[in-house]
Point group: C2
Chain length 285, copies 2
């Protein structure tokens, strides 16, 4: 390991923490995965690693998968030793040292960070969604990637404080529905069936979204159309759920519209999808 010549301070105290030259902090140059820890295991690990590999190349971050797997493994072992079996493991793969200019260092040595947190409150019974005013910018290069530039989500999530709303619907600048601040969206319309927003220009391509599209919907012989969804389509839907890799599938009970709460019923399809997911992945029971 090279010696750091870093001169820095944090809140007035001198520091040579090498995180001070981390491109993840300087520029958000990195990726993250938020993984459900269940009975000491990470049941969706392979899905998370698949996404990580796919996205890392776009940010020019070379991944050595065996090293990442070893660090995750060591961290899981430590958690087990501490009798911590359930919760969330956040994996950050940042672009490493070299925060002095936007140009990548000659060799990017990614830094692998694992952080544990307790499970958030899970709302299997359903949630209400705020309708965010903040609009996601269009970015075909970065769309889909779970990178560390998340000011869009921070600004949107802090539009409301009312606990009635667990999450918020996010739209793009053409008023097309994209996602919530921390989940993907599926909605059912009487005529078109199941729909989920196209993420070509904005949004995070979630692991749970992929798993539902590739495994769970097909297992029930149900079709989903990936498409543009405007406000009219949203208003016309009869069932909706949101999903992410920590919470699984969460029914939507209502969403805000013009100062009102539009209410929805959960519907049999959503219950069937929840059951099928729980059968395959018991952590989401």
């Amino acid at each position: 390991m090279e010696k750091s010549n870093l001169i820095g301070s944090i809140d007035g105290a001198l520091s040579s923490s090498n995180l001070l030259s981390e491109r993840g902090l300087a520029y958000g140059h990195g990726l993250f995965e938020t993984m459900r820890l269940h009975q000491g295991q990470l049941p969706l690990l392979s899905w998370h690693l698949d996404r990580l590999i796919r996205d890392a190349s776009i940010l020019s971050i070379p991944l050595q998968l065996p090293i990442i797997e070893r660090h995750i493994n060591d961290f899981q072992r430590y958690l087990r030793q501490q009798k911590i079996d359930n919760g969330v493991v956040k994996l950050i793969v940042a672009a490493g040292d070299g925060g002095r200019g936007y140009k990548n260092p000659a060799t990017i040595k990614p830094r692998v960070i694992c952080v544990y947190s307790d499970l958030p409150q899970l709302d299997h019974q359903g949630v209400n969604l705020w309708r965010c005013q903040y609009r996601l910018p269009s970015n075909p290069v970065l769309s889909g990637i779970k990178h560390l530039n998340r000011l869009d989500q921070v600004l949107a999530r802090n539009e409301w404080t009312d606990d009635l709303y667990s999450d918020g619907l996010m739209f793009d600048q053409h008023n097309q529905l994209v996602e919530t601040t921390s989940a993907n969206i599926f909605l059912h319309c009487p005529r078109q069936g199941w729909l989920t927003p196209d993420l070509s220009n904005a949004g995070v391509s979630g692991v749970m979204r992929a798993l539902l599209l590739e495994e769970i919907f097909p297992s029930l012989a149900k079709k989903v159309t990936v498409t543009d969804i405007d406000s009219d389509r949203l208003s016309g839907c009869d069932h909706m759920f949101i999903c992410n890799s920590v919470r699984g599938l969460t029914p939507v009970l209502g969403f805000s519209q013009d100062q009102n709460l539009v209410t929805l019923t959960i519907g049999n399809d959503v219950k069937m999808l929840q059951s099928a997911l729980a059968d395959n992945y018991p952590c989401f029971r």
Copy 2:
């Protein structure tokens, strides 16, 4: 200070670094300033702090200016003790602990980070600019702010490796010129005079850009128009310079266009502006 219950690892080693719960790393929730250190002083400090105050509120980061000034002051004193008088001081004001969800903590306690680096190579004689393919997304809420979400600049800066080009021209998705990866742009057209891109939808509103617009151009009784600049206007310009708070004003000698290098002359105006800047701020001599 509350005790941290953080459980984390960095590259496999257990860590309780509180940077692991820093929203600046998790989401890029924070701001930065890159300040020229000259003879132990930060000549543009008040300009940087003015911008910081203006932008922090948009990210809901409460600033206690006396605390920030004290940390900067302490850091400068330390550098003087180390006989370090010239270089760059990067100030990061990050949103502090609370990286478990996008929702801001009830009270945001910003973390103030200072990092020193040596002066980069300065090209007072002029530089060539690459024409970046990557397009800046349109974002009227975040435009102008020097926040920590800088993947746009990272992706654009790494399009070229040829040392012929010191920086790159960046355009938005409507092909309007915005800035370079690390500087603002001013260009002179024979008919319209001095122009600089409007930053309402994309770009960083640089301290040096503000200083030139508010102090240096008026001191020479020269007018600048803030406006949209498309590729045609760019092609028609006869002089151009880029500017930032570390390098001051750098003439542009040429820029890439369709595999060619379009060359420019420096022109008397640019020399006069350089002189006026150096007279007022000797660090840019």
